[in-house]
C-alpha cells in the first residue's frame, strides 16, 4: 500500500473520532439519566416538584424548563432590536468604512467576554440599578438574567445578519433608490426580504446560545426552585440548577441532573440544527 492510501485512511479514521465522540456523548448522557428516566418517565417533563429530601425524593424539570424558556425568550426579545440595528449600522449605513469595522470588532469582543465576567458585572452593576428602580427587592430574577443574556447573544445574532445584509445585490438597492425610495424604504422593501432568512437563522442560533448559558444566569436568576410568576421574580434554569447542585448531588438526584443535561443537549441541538438548515438553504 502506498503512502497516499495510508494517509487517506488515516484522515478518514481520524474523522471517525469526532463521530464516536458525539455518539459517546449522547450515550453517556442517556446512560447517566437512566435511573431518573425509569423512575419518573414522562412525568419528569411535566412535574414541577424538585425535592431532594431523602426518602421522598421526587424530581421534575418543569420549573427549570419554564425558567429557561422565559429567560431566553426575553433575552432574544431584548437582543433583536440591538442586533438588528447594529447589523444595519455595520452592513448598510456605514458599510465598508473604518467606523463599521471598529463597531464590528467591538461587537465581536462582546462574544469573547467570559460568562463569569458578565455574571459579575450583572451582579455588581445591574442588580443595584434594578433595585434602585424599585423593580425588585434584591435585583435578582428573570429580567436581570435576560438583560445580561441579551448582551451576551447580540454578537451571535449580528454576525450572520451582517453577512446576509452585505450580500444583498447592489443593483436591487440602486434600482429602488432610482425610483425615489428613501433608505428606510430600501431597507424594508429590498434588504429585509433578501436577508430575512439569514437574519432569522442568526437569531435562532443566538437563542440556542441563550438557552445553554450557565454561569451568568446562575449568578443573577436568584436560584429559587419555583416557577417564576413575573418578569422580576426569581427562578432557576436547567443550566443553573446543574451548576448549583451537581457538586453535592449523588444517586437519583445526580441522575435527574444528568437528565436535565440530556434535555438541554437535545433542545440546543434541535435549535442549532434548525438554524444550520436555514443557512444551508440560502447557501
Amino acid at each position: 500500500m502506498n503512502s497516499d492510501k495510508i494517509l487517506k485512511r488515516v484522515l478518514f479514521f481520524s474523522s471517525l473520532v469526532i463521530v464516536l465522540i458525539a455518539a459517546a456523548m449522547v450515550f453517556s448522557l442517556f446512560e447517566g439519566s437512566l435511573p431518573s428516566i425509569s423512575k419518573f418517565g414522562w412525568r419528569f417533563l411535566i412535574s414541577d416538584q424538585w425535592d431532594p429530601t431523602q426518602g421522598s425524593e421526587n424530581y421534575g424539570a418543569l420549573l427549570f424548563i419554564v425558567g429557561t424558556i422565559l429567560t431566553s425568550v426575553l433575552a432574544l426579545v431584548i437582543a433583536i432590536p440591538l442586533a438588528f440595528c447594529t447589523s444595519l449600522f455595520v452592513a448598510e449605513y456605514f458599510r465598508g468604512t473604518k467606523l463599521a469595522s471598529i463597531v464590528g470588532t467591538l461587537v465581536d469582543l462582546l462574544a469573547g467576554i467570559p460568562s463569569i465576567i458578565y455574571g459579575l458585572w450583572g451582579f455588581y452593576i445591574l442588580c443595584p440599578l434594578v433595585v434602585e428602580a424599585g423593580l425588585s427587592p434584591q435585583g435578582f430574577g428573570v429580567f436581570t438574567s435576560a438583560l445580561i443574556l441579551a448582551i451576551m447573544i447580540v454578537p451571535y445574532a449580528t454576525s450572520l445578519s451582517n453577512t446576509t445584509i452585505a450580500m444583498v445585490p447592489n443593483d436591487l438597492k440602486e434600482a429602488a433608490y432610482a425610483l425615489g425610495a428613501t433608505r428606510l424604504e430600501v431597507i424594508r422593501t429590498v434588504i429585509l426580504p433578501n436577508a430575512r432568512s439569514g437574519m432569522t437563522a442568526s437569531y435562532i442560533l443566538a437563542f440556542g446560545r441563550a438557552i445553554g448559558e450557565t454561569l451568568a444566569v446562575t449568578m443573577l436568576i436568584g436560584n429559587e426552585n419555583a416557577i417564576p410568576h413575573g418578569l422580576f421574580s426569581t427562578g432557576n434554569t436547567m443550566a443553573s440548577v446543574i451548576a448549583n447542585q451537581f457538586g453535592e448531588a449523588s444517586g437519583l438526584q445526580l441522575s435527574a441532573l444528568i437528565e436535565l443535561a440530556l434535555l438541554l443537549f437535545v433542545i440546543t441541538t434541535i435549535i442549532n440544527a434548525i438554524g444550520k438548515y436555514i443557512i444551508k438553504k440560502i447557501g
Partner: protein, 299 residues
C-alpha cells in the same frame, strides 16, 4: 375647482415626501442609538473592571496564591489590600489549556484536513454537521460529559485531566472548522503544481497546504484557546479548584475563572475579584484580537 384639487394633490405629495423623509431620519437615529447601546456595553464592562480592580494588581498578585479567608478578612478590616494573588489559578489555567490543546489541536487539524480534501462527500457533510452541533452544546453539558468519562472511572475524583478533557471537547469543533475554512482558501493551482511535480499526497499536505494556511490555523487555535480560557461552568464539575498549585493530572487543580467564582462566593475575598477579572479579561481579549489581526492580515 380642478386647480384646487391639483394643488391639494401636490401638497399631499409634498407632505408625504416630508413624512417619508422624517420616518427615514427617525429610523436612522434609532439605528445609531441602538448600535451605540450595543458597543457601549463593551466599554461599560471593561471600564467597570479597570476602575474597580487596578488597585489590587501588584507583583504578589502574579506570584502568590490567595490567602485564607481569615487573613483576607483582617486585611479588609484594616483597610489594606488583600495580600496574595492568583498564581495557582494562572498556572492551573495554563496547564489546563495545554492538556486540552495537546488533545484537541492535532486531532482537530487532521479532521479539518479531511473535511477540506473531501468537502463535497456526503460523509464529510455529516462530519461537518456534527462539528457544528458540538459547537452549540452548552458548556455545562460538556462538563457533565467529562465528569462521566474521566472523574468517575479514571481519576476517581475531580481532576485536572477531567477539566482538560472538557476543554478539549469544546476546542475540537472550533479547530476542525477553522482549519477547514483556512485550508479552503489555499488556491487549487498550488496543490496542482505540487501534484504535477510528482509530490506524494502527504507531502502536498505537509509542505504546501499546512504552510500556506499556517496563519489561518494559528488564528483559529488562538481563538479556540481564548474561548476555553474563560470557561467556568465545565471546570466546576471537573477540576473543582485547589488552593495550591497542583501539577498532578489526577488531582483537583485551579484555574483563574474558578478562583473568581470562589472569590465571588467568599465575602472576605471579594476585593480580589476585580483584579483577577481584569487579568482574565485582558488575556482573553488580547488572544482574541491577535487572532483577528492574523486572520485579517491574510485577506
Amino acid at each position: 375647482m380642478d386647480n384646487i384639487i391639483n394643488i391639494g394633490k401636490t401638497a399631499g405629495l409634498l407632505s408625504s415626501i416630508g413624512y417619508r423623509k422624517a420616518k427615514n431620519n427617525i429610523f436612522k437615529i434609532l439605528v445609531m442609538v441602538f448600535s451605540f447601546l450595543t458597543i457601549s456595553m463593551v466599554f461599560l464592562i471593561i471600564g467597570t473592571l479597570l476602575v474597580k480592580g487596578y488597585k489590587q494588581i501588584n507583583l504578589a498578585f502574579f506570584t502568590q496564591v490567595a490567602p485564607d479567608t481569615f487573613t483576607a478578612m483582617m486585611a479588609t478590616a484594616n483597610g489594606e489590600i488583600i495580600p496574595g494573588g492568583i498564581a495557582n489559578g494562572i498556572l492551573g489555567s495554563i496547564y489546563l489549556v495545554l492538556i486540552a490543546s495537546v488533545i484537541a489541536i492535532p486531532m482537530g487539524i487532521v479532521i479539518g484536513v479531511y473535511l477540506s480534501e473531501n468537502s463535497k462527500k456526503k460523509y464529510a457533510c455529516v462530519i461537518r454537521d456534527i462539528a457544528d452541533i458540538m459547537q452549540g452544546v452548552p458548556s455545562i453539558v460538556i462538563g457533565i460529559i467529562a465528569y462521566i468519562w474521566v472523574v468517575v472511572p479514571l481519576t476517581k475524583g475531580y481532576s485536572v485531566l477531567a477539566g482538560g478533557v472538557a476543554l478539549a471537547i469544546m476546542m475540537l469543533p472550533l479547530i476542525v472548522r477553522s482549519t477547514e475554512e483556512s485550508l479552503k482558501m489555499v488556491p487549487d493551482t498550488l496543490k496542482e503544481a505540487a501534484i504535477a511535480l510528482g509530490t506524494p499526497y502527504y507531502k502536498v499536505i505537509w509542505r504546501v497546504l499546512i504552510p500556506t494556511s499556517f496563519s489561518g490555523l494559528i488564528s483559529g487555535i488562538l481563538l479556540a484557546v481564548s474561548r476555553v480560557l474563560g470557561e467556568t461552568a465545565p471546570l466546576m464539575l471537573t477540576t473543582l479548584g485547589n488552593p495550591d498549585v497542583n501539577w498532578n493530572i489526577a488531582k483537583p487543580g485551579s484555574a483563574v475563572p474558578l478562583l473568581i467564582w470562589q472569590f465571588y462566593n467568599d465575602p472576605n475575598m471579594v476585593n480580589l475579584i476585580w483584579s483577577s477579572t481584569i487579568f482574565l479579561m485582558g488575556f482573553v481579549l488580547i488572544l482574541n484580537l491577535i487572532s483577528k489581526w492574523i486572520g485579517a492580515k491574510r485577506k
